[in-house]
Point group: none
Chain length 408, copies 2
């Protein structure tokens, strides 16, 4: 049986096409009674998106598999064409990316919580009373000042919000995943981490490193109140992922505002374009960088944020703001433009969901589905049907005429 990704690679031709993937984070939604059976996309006024649909195909993307709600990691990896079931990115890695740590291949990352321990080392509060962010930053700085290395391994400590922080171990021969240094409930001691794969010498070495880190760090926190301890979870290394350019023969750049999405795009080797803070600025920068790259990933966060807050009006407004900025992008209309989400974040769910997100694809060869608008209901009628998110880039490549014919 021929491997499909190998086939795509064999057929790939280098072209001069420009491809743009716009991710409206969490844009997909559901129509419920309390929303008058309208989704935010349906309720929003989107004259520019509407105009695009005339020459576009639509469909819906299954982010991972039916019923699976993805985090931002699997959601974006899928959109970037990497099967999220094949390329797993540990939570520690995602958390580190989210805090803007620039990772290197092989780095082992852990998400950590400050916690409260009693005299016997029993966890009495897994979140140390949700200490303020400033306290967290102070404690992280203290740890970082005293622990720069453990043996030959560099230790990077970075504070997050409230009680959260991340620890990154950078050295040779390290590997995750490890079990958690977290009893997952109060009243128990912090368990010693173990290799997930008992046969892995690298995991064994990394588990020893984490134990040594605890040995060094706990005394430093001993007199702190209430954060005299900490838990570590999702301990994993940055996986080896074939680079985007290698896989697609496309030189890619990311225009993202939030560290998490910059980080995810860097995982697959996209160039990071720094500076833009608004979608208008992102589009302006696309115009400026147009000739420097073949592929642009443009990330827009606010649709997801409003969905997480369960705020229908805010989500509708975020879509309208995006629509208003769209003409800037279209000043240099890409050969292939796809607009979609990394998943749905329905207002009624107040969080990410499994509902397939709508996708719009426009190119000289997309054909027209003769739909008036880009909405979930419209996308149900489109020619692209329902398909796995990991194929979107392949369809974009096809639309850029980047694939030779298969067989005679």
């Amino acid at each position: 049986m021929k491997n499909l990704n190998s086939l795509y690679s064999e057929l790939t031709l280098k072209t001069k096409s420009k491809l743009v993937l716009v991710v409206l984070d969490g844009v997909g939604d559901i129509a419920t009674r309390s929303q008058g059976y309208l989704t935010p996309l349906e309720a929003a006024s989107t004259p520019n998106l509407d105009a695009l649909t005339q020459d576009a195909a639509q469909g819906r993307l299954t982010p991972v598999a039916p019923g699976i709600t993805p985090g931002s990691g699997p959601g974006h990896l899928g959109l970037f064409g990497y099967d999220p079931l094949e390329f797993e990115v540990g939570r520690g890695v995602i958390e580190a990316l989210g805090l803007g740590v620039e990772l290197k291949a092989g780095d082992v990352c852990a998400r950590a919580n400050f916690a409260t321990l009693d005299a016997k080392g029993i966890v009495t509060d897994r979140r140390a009373g949700r200490i303020p962010t400033e306290t967290c930053e102070k404690l992280c700085a203290k740890l970082a000042a005293k622990i720069k290395k453990i043996g030959d391994t560099q230790v990077i400590i970075k504070a997050g919000k409230e009680h959260r922080f991340v620890v990154v171990f950078r050295g040779k021969g390290l590997e995750g995943p490890l079990t958690d240094a977290d009893p997952n409930r109060e009243g128990f001691a912090i368990p010693t981490v173990k290799p997930r794969d008992a046969k892995s010498a690298k995991q064994k070495k990394t588990a020893k490193l984490v134990a040594d880190f605890y040995q060094a760090a706990l005394p430093i926190l001993a007199k702190e109140k209430p954060a005299n301890g900490f838990l570590m979870r999702g301990i994993a290394h940055q996986p080896e992922i074939p680079s985007f350019e290698e896989r697609y023969k496309l030189k890619a750049a990311a225009l993202a505002v939030y560290p998490m999405y910059k980080g995810l795009s860097q995982l697959v080797g996209m160039a990071k374009i720094e500076g833009p803070q608004t979608i208008e600025e992102q589009f302006q920068r696309y115009l400026a960088e147009h000739d420097n790259y073949d592929f642009f990933f443009i990330h827009y966060k606010y649709t997801d944020k409003a969905g997480e807050d369960g705020n229908f009006e805010a989500k509708k407004k975020a879509i309208e703001d995006f629509d208003a900025a769209l003409p800037i992008l279209l000043e240099k209309r890409p050969d292939v433009l796809a607009i979609t989400g990394d998943h749905s974040t329905p207002v009624a769910v107040h969080g990410h969901s499994w509902h397939p997100q709508p996708v719009l694809l426009t190119s000289k060869y997309s054909g027209s589905d003769k739909l008036d608008r880009f909405t979930e209901t419209g996308a149900n009628l489109g020619s692209l049907g329902l398909f796995d998110a990991k194929y979107l880039i392949r369809l974009m490549q096809a639309n850029a005429l980047m694939f030779d014919k298969f067989g005679a």
Copy 2:
């Protein structure tokens, strides 16, 4: 995990149903602005197809995988229910089939070009100035007269158009694929072919055979101008494919006009019905042969031809001609009738494409999708949805009540 094809086989019942698969080659298209947002199927007047849709289900077929544009080989193998990623048919084989060579299992085929060599054997023109077809035929006859066998292996040489021809090696213990005897650009000598799999003794033997063929053939051409040499590519053997009858318990016949499609149907063991030259004659012959087979594959070429030419009016006309002939077929309405393409050949693309082709399926049990017409846009709304072409025959079998229930 149960193997799906094994399951289908276990469940298959022999019935008296007649199943007909009509392939309107490349019928799928896209609606573009310059075509007034109509596809040829939409623009054509098709009263007979329209009447069929009342009692039909519709959907769209992914010929191979998202974004992959198939050649006729993978396109038809998929329609015949053989995964094109599992059953690869080399270009040499396809070319030989296209020229009407009747292949046997194990035959190794190569597509060949006459070329011009300088005194040192350097390729100076990979197409020998595109010599006229008559010259090609003359040279092939000359080679064929002098080289009938190499060792125990029979050699079959057949001329194609202009500089093109095919060479078939028929003997024991032969196998492809081999690397090409083609530098792929001018200014280089013809490389010696090598096994693709260095461990295959059969490929090694076949590579030696090709070298011996060159040794025998080049002196025969030495004084020709400009075709004093030749290149060989896509050297592969006819793969072993489980026969259609074995796989589906259906005795199948092919009603195709062009050699390529006769050949492809023979690859899976369909009977070849010779004679008919027009779609009317093909349908007439179906009526005459109705009782002799369970399954008919009827191939109609002209939709593809018009698409390749980028000729909207010709494609529309080809569809209308087909529609006008359809009542002949319906004189003995099959129990299950599927009408589709092997891929799309959009007018705007001037060639095969990746766009899923529409499919119409009508039987006593197809149900009605209550669509007025058979078009790409209509098919988007159908109950069959978007699915892989390799499952179409299974759906046809189900509609013929050829499958027992799975489990109690």
